[in-house]
Amino acid sequence: MGMTKEQIAQRIARELRDGYYVNLGIGIPTLVANYIPSGMSVVLQSENGLLGMGPFPFDGEEDADLINAGKQTITTLPGSVFFDSAMSFGMIRAGKVDLTVLGAMEVSQDGDIANWKIPGKMVKGMGGAMDLVASARNIIVAMMHTNPKGESKLLPACQLPLTGIRCVKRIVSDLAVLDVHDGVFHLLERAPGVSVDYIKERTAGTLVVQGEIPEIIF
């Protein structure tokens, strides 16, 4: 039931527009790059200092000096630019990146996001996540609607330590596409074969359902 990670990425890719500069987080967000419509110019920003991230290198052509923010070996594309970390977060902070896609452990109906720390577990650090969520003009969260126990991750208020407040604009989960504004979740689309009631049951925060909710078609 619900969308696969690839389908979530595919659905998010429909939010891309020609000329967009996009920062894709680790995990499902990275998969979005595979679904950029051909002919559309989308430039990927990697916050360690690159605009124009290309695909992984061919085996044997890895360059230790050329990695992405996930520390993976990558390649450049024609038009790529390198810069330092201050400029990288400068362009993020100045709102020059059109879209940021990242994962989350929890999102609240106020648009708060928690994705960096679980009390009692070893903390690895926020990396660039706090900068990205606080700065981006447009944030889409790619996430599972519930945790492995079946508990909703779309909450009235986040339980985990926050990464940022009032910043998430849209969520694409395995079950639905939702907007976050005016202090509630708004259901926009259903995953194939998923009913509105099924989504309601798995959304702990206030969910507004207005009119017919279309099913996502792939």
Binding site: S46, E47, N48, G49, L50, P55, F56, P57, F58, D59, G60, E61, E62, D63, A64, D65, L66, I67, N68, G70, K71, Q72, T73, I74, T76, F82, F83, D84, S85, A86, S88, F89, G90, I92, R93, D112, M122, V123, K124, G125, M126, G127, G128, A129, M130, D131, A134, S135, P161, L162, T163, G164, I165, R166
Partner: protein, 231 residues
């Protein structure tokens, strides 16, 4: 005026116990391998290290952690590093986690003589604890202070004898920022060229920010996540 030193051991010879040092690099990309090895050899202790990451167990700053040389890490992401985790849990190691953009911009502030900067990163989170929050144009920002580090140690691709530096690809990352931010800046380079060989339009770090430079050797340039695709 000679900025060129023989090697890493000479370059770091006056880094003493308790020093605050910045180390360039993102993950293992663009880290000053030679100077880290020299710091391990020197057995200098109680260091405060400002670096985006803390290396892995057996490379990068991880080598200094193994020798218990680090008192405090100031980083944005400390990743998978078992020895790091052990020392943190046992209380041997202190860690201050700060957002990556804040880390970068606090370096920039130091290099540009700006005592503090404002950033929205961390507003409403535990990072904001004890910090001044200020609203500009309806948006909240945290005031973050410029770093104040005794030494900055950076790795560049090419450098000249006046300390001018050029970085390569994403190994640039924090290196030029830390080069500007250190009270005393040490640069290790893969290629050390005579003055005049670098194009003045292409230099990333002007030599005015660099006090010592040497040609490093035996760069391992370890890759943390070797990802490839099929031909």
């Amino acid at each position: 005026m000679n900025k060129v030193v023989l090697g890493a051991d000479q370059a770091i010879s006056d880094i003493e116990d308790g020093a605050v040092i910045m180390l360039g690099g993102f993950g293992l990309c663009g880290i000053p391998e030679n100077c880290i090895a020299a710091l391990v050899r020197k057995k200098v202790k109680h260091l405060t290290c400002i670096s985006n990451n803390a290396g892995v167990d057996d490379f990068g700053i991880g080598l200094m952690l193994q020798q218990r040389q680090v008192k405090k890490m100031i980083s944005s992401y400390v990743g998978e590093n078992a020895e790091f985790e052990r020392q943190l849990l046992s209380g041997e190691l202190e860690v201050e986690l700060i957002p990556q953009g804040t880390l970068a911009t606090r370096c920039l502030a130091a290099g540009y003589g700006m005592p503090a900067i404002y950033t929205p990163a961390g507003v409403g989170t535990e990072v904001a604890a004890g910090k001044e929050v200020r609203t500009f144009n309806g948006k909240e920002f945290l005031m973050e202070m410029a770093f104040n580090a005794d030494f900055a140690i950076v790795k560049a691709w090419r450098g000249d004898t006046q300390g001018n530096l050029i970085f390569r690809a994403t190994s640039r990352n924090f290196n030029p920022l830390m080069a500007m931010a250190g009270k005393l800046t040490i640069a290790e380079v893969e290629e050390l060229v005579p003055v005049g060989e670098l194009d003045p339009d292409h230099i990333h770090t002007p030599g005015i920010y660099v006090h010592r430079i040497f040609k490093g050797s035996n760069y391992e340039k370890r890759i943390e996540q070797r990802t490839t695709r099929i031909r």
